[in-house]
Amino acid sequence: MRGNNLTILIVAVLIAVIGVMSIYSSNYQKEGLLWQTIFQRQILWIGLGLLLFFYMSNFNYRRLWDITYIVYGVITFLLFLVFVLGIVRLGAQRWLRLGWFNLQPSEVAKLIMVIFLARYFSSKSSSEVSLPVSRYGIFRGLILPFIFIAFPVGLIIEQPDLGSGLLVMFMFIIMVFLSGVRLRYLVILTVFVGLCFPVVWNYLRDYQKDRLLVFLNPNVDPLGAGYTVIQSKIAIGSGQLFGKGWLLGTQSQLHFLPESHTDFIFATFAEEWGFVGCVILLALYYILIRQGIKIASKTGDYFGKLLACGISLMLGIQVFINICMNMGLAPVVGVPLPLMSYGGSSIMTTFVALGILVNINKKRAVF
């Protein structure tokens, strides 16, 4: 493994290690065995994630092209299963129990939707020289893929996992943009999604509405989501230039910060490592995403190009939304910080995505 690929691996592992340290710090004062083992489990997920990373980096990504629809079918089925189990068990459920592992299909769905869209927009028949996508009419260029995406997105939002649902929708808009479909359609799509929002609003659960309203005024709900945002801002801000030091963050350790090891891991990190730490972390994420974009622009194969670009953006958007959420600049919708937030499904999906990226880079010379 050389050059770009090695950079990706090293940066990803570095971020993951920072994540484990922050998770350890956020939980080490909490009582109970469950909390104490969380960072160990995160290490396990990262280990498994690295295995998947090496596997995927040697798995010819063109084969993903062939199995796209199968994978799409499987993930939609899993999402549907989550939905059905949610009804049967009288409760919301985002994961499926697979032995000792709780699979969260909505995390995996993010990646699979990117693969699906990359494949959809790069398909051409053997007789064609140029890609037909720029000549697509509104149905093939917009409506048909929208239907394909809307189904899983609906299931994800229903779980309820608003963050992942919106993220996939957002990815869709971006993939449409990247694919080279006429810009006019893109405008139509954006307007349409915008118009949908009031409709979706009615289907949201109360607490989801609360979270969106809280974004506008955190003091509406001082106990719930608003409180989290207020405390998260205090945590980040009080880190100042050099931070309070590892294991010394008061905000995250005194139970002020709910979700301090998942969605609000950034606040935990920022409090303890300060502005200097944040700049380093941002730089690492930037390098990672930059590598992805570089691979995308160098790749000649259109499927690979779209896929690489989609994967990098998927990571980029999650990083952006999550950090904004931590700083009170975006509503608290539950988007994890890739590679840092606790959670097996998210960690492994991210490593698989990076593995695909590396493989695209390896195979570049072939085409």
Binding site: L178, D221, P222, G224, I236, G239, L254, A270, L313, F320
Partner: protein, 570 residues
């Protein structure tokens, strides 16, 4: 190529992040550091009241009363020590004890610590007056569950307890948190989401000495919704009194709508013991006290199951009204003698039902075969949940030959059929299934869905709850058997003849099911008044009763109901 545009978009996005973090940590950093050091935001929880549970006439079965908690807002150590001393003095708790409570409960500098809960109102007033001198005392009133009738209808109502891990994983996404108090069992569990109050909070800013500066935000608490049940408290009381200390269950239902009017199960528990956990009464509970025998346990039905065989026989013309068999006290099936409980001589169907003759039904069962009996049991929806709106209802069980082969690796013998048709062997029924089964004869052919919720938060549920399906059995057959059920009481030698001299005409069927050595379940399932039924009743005595003793309990219940002025029998 549009990929290049993306590259610049990413640079812009990261710049935004960089600048925002710079703004938060470097420019405003001092301010936030200050806030974090003092954390001058205080949160005062504001409790709402959980919804009441009422009976059909609006009487409160489960309500709330105000209880007072004493909390201390963390401050300088000196001030706190003084305050704790004073509080301890008023409450009569020694200073070391109260200090250790404060230490244990301390979470964060801005969250009040509870040092005493459930303080009586006089002491609460005294402490409230101290507040002028000791500003960190907070008296928090919050409603607690109150059970005016003790263990009455305890299984229907359920109890409250701290959320357990299993429920938490299930309910987390609905905003439930660890340490939340949630319903366990019964209406409290099933309708927790409606009953549940929404905790509010007041967030205030204080200065470094803990003195109030201003209100930052307020979220008013919301009370839970009241739930009205279909239960009639008067009937429920009568039923529970009649059971006494026996292990038993009584279900009384409206045969036309499916409204449950009484559902008693014994042994029970007083839900209040889960609120005040100081005593050891939880550990002292009978280990089956938490089970609602009316819906959560299946029992061998005994002779009440014969009605299935009778319906099947008449419907398929294997027997008719004139079919007569001679009961000699036993009958040989395979290589075993199957006994009847008496020697009845020549019996037709009406007599066989009135006397509950086993031999008659052995013969009918063998003519029908097990599959037909199973299929007819299914027509009455036995072996399936009734769909009552309470949690933890079980299926009961109706066997069939294929099941026996697959699950037990055994063939189905004629002996099994003989046991099956008289309700012995593998068959299991819940009392609520039995009552629903009897309702088919009371209302002449409809299978109702039993339910217990009448009204949630002022919204009438009756319409959406009443679900009736037709049983696919000829009216003629139902009507004929209905007449025979009257005979069980009417006939001087009928098994439930002790119910004959009540002021209301009763019809029904008794059952005595053998379970283990010298132990029998007793059943009486019936309806009254016979002409225009208003009530279906099931009395079930577990492991220590017979059809006769169950009928005696039924007699006591119906007798008491007829004497109670507030219950209209006709």
């Amino acid at each position: 190529m549009r990929v290049h545009i993306i590259g610049s978009v990413i640079i812009v996005a990261f710049s935004i992040l960089f600048l925002s973090i710079f703004n938060l940590q470097v420019i405003k950093g001092d301010n936030y550091k200050d806030q974090s050091d003092k954390n001058c935001i205080r949160l005062l929880p504001q409790a709402g009241a959980r919804g009441n549970i009422l009976d059909r006439n609006g009487n409160i079965i489960v309500g709330n009363y105000l209880s007072y908690d004493v909390m201390i807002m963390p401050q300088d150590k000196k001030v706190i020590d003084k305050t704790l001393e004073k509080v301890g003095e008023v409450l009569g708790i020694n200073i070391a004890e109260i200090k250790s409570r404060f230490k244990k409960g301390y979470l964060a500098p801005f969250i009040p610590v509870m040092v005493a809960s459930n303080v009586d109102s006089k002491k609460a007033v005294v402490l409230g007056e101290l507040k002028t001198d000791y500003s960190s005392i907070i008296i928090q009133a919050h409603p607690l569950r109150y059970y005016p009738y003790g263990k009455l209808a305890c299984h229907v109502v359920g109890y409250l307890n701290e959320i357990d891990h299993w429920r938490l994983t299930k309910l987390e996404d609905y905003g439930y948190k660890t340490k939340d108090i949630v319903g366990f069992g019964g209406v409290e569990e099933k309708y927790d989401y409606y009953l549940r109050e929404d905790e509010g909070a007041l967030s205030i800013e204080v200065d470094h000495r803990g003195r109030f500066i201003r209100i930052l935000g307020f979220k008013p608490p919301k009370d839970g919704k009241d739930i009205q049940l279909t239960l009639d408290l008067e009937i429920q009381k009568i039923a529970e009194d009649a059971i006494g200390d026996r292990k038993a269950s009584v279900v009384i239902m409206d045969p036309f709508s499916g409204e449950i009017l009484a559902m008693a199960s014994n042994p029970g528990f007083n839900p209040a013991i889960f609120i005040n956990k100081k005593n050891n009464s939880i550990a002292a509970l009978d280990n089956s006290a938490l089970i609602n025998r009316s819906i959560s346990a299946g029992f061998a039905p005994g002779s009440i199951f014969k009605l299935v065989g009778a319906s099947a026989g008449l419907e398929t013309n294997k027997i008719n009204l004139a079919t007569t068999y001679t009961c000699t006290g036993s009958m040989r099936v395979g290589n075993r003698d199957f006994k009847c409980w008496d020697t009845h001589g020549d019996e037709n169907l009406a007599q066989a039902i009135a006397h509950s003759c086993d031999v008659y039904f052995y013969r009918t069962g063998l003519l029908l075969g097990p599959q037909a009996i199973h299929d007819y049991a299914q027509k009455f929806s036995l072996g399936k949940v009734t769909g009552i709106d309470l949690p933890y209802e079980v299926n009961g069980f109706v066997p069939e030959p294929l099941w026996k082969r697959i699950k037990l690796f055994q063939n189905w013998y004629n002996g099994d059929t003989a046991n099956f048709v008289i309700g012995q062997g593998y068959t299991l029924l819940t009392p609520v299934q039995a009552v629903r089964f009897m309702a088919v004869f009371a209302n002449k052919g409809d299978l109702v869905t039993p339910f217990i919720i009448r009204n949630i938060g002022g919204k009438d549920m009756l319409k959406s709850r009443i679900k009736i399906t037709k049983v696919h059995i000829k009216d003629r057959v139902i009507n004929y058997l209905r007449q025979d059920l009257r005979g069980v009481v009417n006939d001087p030698t009928g098994t439930a003849n002790i119910l004959a001299n009540l002021p209301v005409s009763v019809a029904g069927k008794t059952g005595t099911a053998e379970v283990g050595r010298n132990q029998t379940h007793g059943w009486f399932v019936g309806f009254f008044p016979f002409e225009k039924p208003k009530y279906v009743i099931c009395v079930f005595l577990e492991s220590s009763g017979s059809g006769h003793s169950a009928s005696a309990v039924a007699k006591q219940i119906i007798g008491a109901m007829s004497q109670n002025n507030s219950i209209n029998l006709n």
